[in-house]
Amino acid sequence: MNSKAFRILLTLLALVTVVLGACSPAPAAPAAPAATQAPAQKSAPALPDEIVVGSVQPLTGGFAVFGQDGKLGAELAIQHINEAGGIKSMGGKKLKLVSEDAGGTPDTAKLATESMISKNRPVAILGEYISRFVMAASEVTDREKVILIADALVPQVTQMGRQYLFRPGPTATDHGALAYQFLVDVSTANGDPIKSIAVLNEDSANGRANSLGAIESALKNQMPVVTSLEYPYDITDATQIVQQLAKANPDAVIHTPYFNDAIVFGKAFKETGLWPKFLAGAGACGYVDPESIKALGDAAEGISMTYSYNPAKDTPQNKKFVEAYKKIKGYIPTEGAGMNYYGAMVLYEALEYSGTHFPDDPLNPENLRRSFLALDLKSGPAVETYPGPQIKFDPLGDNEFPGTVVLQVQQGEPKVVYPEAEAEAKPIWPNSHFKP
């Protein structure tokens, strides 16, 4: 078999394909002097025309619901920043947002992050919603010295020793603890204090972290946890678990789902009729967002969920955001949108700081990093859209003053009901479907 010509043909084909694959569909200026200047440079490096910010979110695949919202939140924030004059300490420089699809697995997220950085050299990336994705991507961003503003909840994200990772939002532990505290406060206020809880979660790191937060709080207060159940997030039939829960007979259930299993459970509760006295969600996914309420119908009524964003916060910046978002989507911003909005605002504050304090080289990753760590915000657009009073980063990148709120579905609408300082409505107790 003479296959020499064949081999040569193949080689040519191979080279052509590889070259094609190497061509970037969105050719960014390869000579953009982004934040990779050597610190030893004496003269101030020229700033680019626009400051490039990246958004890497799951836009397709199983988490697309969150990712699309997150992207929109970032887009609106950048738009508002530019409208208000851009980065004034850098001469009014405008921001430009580029977005990539993180896909559905940590591998595609990592690939998207590599691609984003290779093509666009952003000064910071907002993303990637799923803790697994953030953990995979942060390896890349730390290596390339690109700031990653993470909107993921799992505590471990900030425990990997990353230098360029910042998480303004609360952690899953905070969520779990708040869900517990909410149950205690609301039940007591209604003269019916709970005497036991059950904890239910899908078996990812997020699910477990939330449940752990709740369990820790419960144990600290000597509240019995009658059962703790886990299930795979792609569960199709929750009847058996619902029956197990009913058997254990807790006063309230703290459930940490992802989007789809929340619907499966909501329906299972309705179908079997085995509702607990109160169903409190934790971890910000499912139950109270518009898609879930639509899918569940009246089964969603009265279910609560913890959120890393307060859509009812009465500040000018937040109102501006909510209005703009509602105009586009037809409903109030979800958690993903909110987190990315104030995440971008935190970036804005850091950029302003860097421009003021490091005028020679404000986009240098080291200087940016220092700016983030130096922030102590009690006012401004970031705090105005944050579900808490203050933003200040500890050395690991977490906010020392994490804020969370609880939303509850009331007459088909999500309402902020807790803590009282941030609430817009009173919580309804117990769950209306509950039959003693």
């Binding site: 397709t60 695949g61 199983g62 697309a64 619901v65 559905g104 078996d203 299930y231 795979p232 792609d234 569960i235 199709t236 039939d237 009847t239 058996q240 678990i241 029956q243 989007f259 789809n260 619907i263 499966v264 329906k267 309705k270 179908e271 079997t272 009729g273 085995l274 898609e291 899918a295 119908g297």
Partner: protein, 287 residues
Amino acid sequence: MIETTVQAIITGVMMGAIYALIALGLSIIFGVMNVVNFAHGDFVMFSMYLTFTIGTLLVWDSVQTPLLTVPIMFVFGLLIYYLIIDRTLGQFWVMQFAATVGLQILMRSAALIIWKGQPRALQYSIIQGSIHIGPFTILTSRLVAAAVSLIVIGGMALFLNKTWAGAAMRAASDDLGAASLMGVNRRRTYGLTFAIGSSLTAVAAALLMSFQQIDPTGGMRFGLLSWCVLALAGLGSLPGLLAAGIIVGITESLAVSFYDPRIRPLAIYAIFILVLWLRPKGLFGRR
């Protein structure tokens, strides 16, 4: 303990009947045509998405959708048969394998494009609800679905035994040569078989959508489930298929109740592999 076991068995029997229906289409196609349809699970998935769309657009209850989905899937089956399957008959086995795997990917990605990645579900179906008998809960949706499955399987058996088309199918599966001598047109019979197998998935889909949701990865689940039931049942016996389905349903239900919801696929595949090792003909197989 006893309570949990009995509850598990009740649930298992109902789900088992539904599983038998899901596998029915595959059993007929494989039994009559000896065609390996790797994409069978994705046919079910596709039917379920179709059910969702029709149910949402026309505001129909899930149980009404077969009025449209069954004819659509019948035509779809015919199309696939004449375009793809027919060409692979009698050829090297690779063809069928690669073609149906390609079909599988095609259907899955088409579903991804049309309906995006999220699971889809219909609003509440009229057959949903629960009956409480003592400590046991029977979900009416599962009960109705199981009953319908029995009726359809029974109907299929009647069709195969009492109609000419059915007899043609049986003859073709036994001995194609002799059958064609008796006037059985291979292409027409095979086309009909494939189309029937395809439209059966629509029936199963309607029942499933009354209490479940569907996402693009559902194809793999239903596919392996179908092969498992089929392997356990063996070929050539519809009552055997039902029995196999129920066995799978009960095993799965017991495993989930007593151990862990995550063990579900394990239980099914364990049965599958064990059957292949120990009794490749299946429990009730004729050949």
